[in-house]
Symmetry: C2
Subunit: 218 residues, 2 copies
Amino acid sequence: MKNNRAKQAVVLLSGGLDSATVLYFAKAKGYLCHCLIFNYGQLHKKEIYRAVRIARAAGCAYKILKINFPWKGSALLDQKIRIPEKVNRGIPATYVPSRNIIFLSFAASFAETIGAQAIFIGAHAQDYSGYPDCRPEFLAAFGRMLKAGTCSGPGILAPLLHKNKSQIILMGAKLGVPFGLTWSCYRGEKNPCAKCDSCYYRAKGFKGAGLVDPLIKK
Amino acid sequence: MKNNRAKQAVVLLSGGLDSATVLYFAKAKGYLCHCLIFNYGQLHKKEIYRAVRIARAAGCAYKILKINFPWKGSALLDQKIRIPEKVNRGIPATYVPSRNIIFLSFAASFAETIGAQAIFIGAHAQDYSGYPDCRPEFLAAFGRMLKAGTCSGPGILAPLLHKNKSQIILMGAKLGVPFGLTWSCYRGEKNPCAKCDSCYYRAKGFKGAGLVDPLIKK
């Protein structure tokens, strides 16, 4: 399975527009991309289907990894916890403890196995206002931990880290990201709910970028 | 599920004698222990059954977390790769890329969810001759990463880190570890194979400690 001839990367793909933009960015940088999609007990599977469609649209290989968390503690995993409709400060109810730590750990295992030098993640400025495992200091510490704890020490690349949603959308538009395939809403209904945090930031982002969200236009 | 009244710990339990010793050590230090056992596609399930028996013998709660690695790359996951019979230097064929990184990441998620302050792992000197994710510098880096990337920043405790197998066995004997329930052999047959790395180190450890291995006596 090892292929050292091409520059290879593992890309964490969620189905949202951030990770889709990262995938197209990594491709544009010449990486042969292997997408890693998680089925981790999210309340809806729509984002997984969308992630698969994005990987296919980009012409990239993908793997879906299923995780059965034997504990709850997040609105994204537990139907008993209400998804917040207002944008709050502090740790959101949608925080899944150590989710990115777990995702990046699997990405490291995959990267080591296939000989990939890089792991791409779509963490960015707006995320780390609330989620501790999106902060720049966390990603840097994770990279140092991988240098110490793996044979190949793949690097963590977060090209959106210091961008806001509008800047990401503009970047994605230039790279040809199929935004109509992406899904941001925490609910998995036919259309975005337009009420959750994620819909709020997406709408604000498209507005700031001066672009129309193809999901809303439809 | 949060219980802040008692000092709580998540203990990674494999069914081997190292992690069993760590569990009894953590209990002796006054921690209310929650054992985390992984079913990650090992070639045999015997060590999982043994881990459950050890957790029960210690009177501790446990959770079994199933991981389906969609990639191979280790003799422990892939029947096509031969388990080495000689003790070799360098990275052993039994190395599972980033295994401890993944296990510790789940332990961090569990610890955050239940409010545990500590994560115990049985990594030790003999392991880190071969496995990069058992080295002291890795565990220290992992702890720093958790401080940056989680809300509660649980600490990583590896009380066996600088001990050899004989010292671990002497420590376990004093703590009352039921060594007869532990399983070290990479093969899951009725009796230990007495040929693999793991059997070699176990036999050497009991000999050095001047004790008889109850698994061999039977």
